[in-house]
């Protein structure tokens, strides 16, 4: 319980900083913090596999890729970027707040009676990782294979786009 609020506060604060930081390099670092805090929350939710993948793939691989690109370009630049429609920023904040204002009462009013009060039975019995593996390779075999094609397409696209002249 306490752990949830601790991790949640860290994640939320990091997320706000992702948006608030001027330098994109710091934004990326705060995102990593946020992702790690989320990983801890996943552990709380007794989802060790996702927690591990979150750290290894997300916080590790993907964010390293981001940082690579940021370093490659203009890492510490705080030069204000040109902006065509200034009001869009305020509009974004307003609309985001509105979304939240609508979303939270929505969640509160939702009938959660069918959801158990506590995390149940996940850790007991067979390992969760094994169940995920079985589900992916049996029930979701075709989507899983399709994702491999998706990644292949992404690789090719990245290679083509990365060429000197396009």
């Amino acid at each position: 319980m306490m752990l949830f609020y601790l991790l949640g506060t860290i994640a939320l604060a990091a997320a706000v900083n992702v948006v608030a930081q001027r330098r994109v390099f710091y934004s990326a670092l705060f995102l990593i913090i946020c992702l790690c805090a989320l990983s801890g929350l996943y552990m709380l939710l007794q989802a060790p596999f996702i927690a591990a993948v979150q750290v290894i793939v997300y916080a590790g691989a993907i964010m390293v890729l981001f940082l690579f690109v940021i370093m490659l370009l203009d890492p510490f630049s705080a030069v204000p970027l040109s902006e065509k429609k200034r009001y869009l920023g305020y509009l974004g904040i307003a609309m985001g707040t509105a979304t939240l204002v609508l979303l939270v009462p929505f969640l509160l009013s939702y009938d959660l009676s069918r959801v158990p009060r506590n995390v149940t039975g996940m850790a007991a019995g067979t390992g969760i990782t094994r169940r995920i593996g079985e589900t992916i390779f049996k029930e979701y075999l075709l989507p899983f294979e399709v994702t491999s094609v998706l990644i292949l397409v992404a690789i090719i696209g990245a290679v083509i786009l990365g060429k000197k002249k396009i």
Binding site: M1, F4, Y5, G8, A11, L12, A15, V18, V19, V24, S27, L31, C34, L38, L41, L45, A47, I50, V57, Y58, A61, I62, L65, F66, V69, L73, L81, S82, E83, K84, L88, G92, I93, M95, G96, T97, T99, L100, L103, V104, L107, L108, L112, P116, R117, N118, T120, M122, I128, R131, I136, P143, T147, A154, G157, A158, V159, I160, L161, I166
Partner: protein
């Protein structure tokens, strides 16, 4: 404890990401905010998966990560291409695809 705090946190992360997408001008920052939105959604998936003792939510999170990885690869490649050609990282400068 109930699932509700998880859902509220998820909504907060998602909203912060959304605001970021609109407010930020740096292309890479926008990407980071999109990652934030994805993670907000992921939290809901995992929370429901755990509370309902169903593994499908976590499988879906796995797929979301795959898509995020692919998106990051292509998106960053596009970013580099734009930077090379226009020497800017502002999304508002890449606006020639219009009427």
């Amino acid at each position: 404890m109930s699932i509700l705090p998880y859902l509220v946190l998820s909504a907060l992360l998602f909203t912060v990401g959304t605001i970021g997408v609109i407010v930020k001008k740096n292309i890479i920052a926008i990407f980071l905010c999109i990652e934030l939105m994805l993670n907000g959604a992921n939290l809901s998936f995992v929370a429901f998966s755990s509370y309902l003792n169903q593994v499908h939510g976590q499988v879906f999170v796995f797929f979301v990560m795959v898509v995020a990885a692919a998106e990051a690869a292509v998106g960053l490649a596009i970013t580099i291409a734009i930077y090379r050609n226009r020497n800017t990282l502002s999304v508002d400068d890449a606006d020639i695809m219009k009427w």
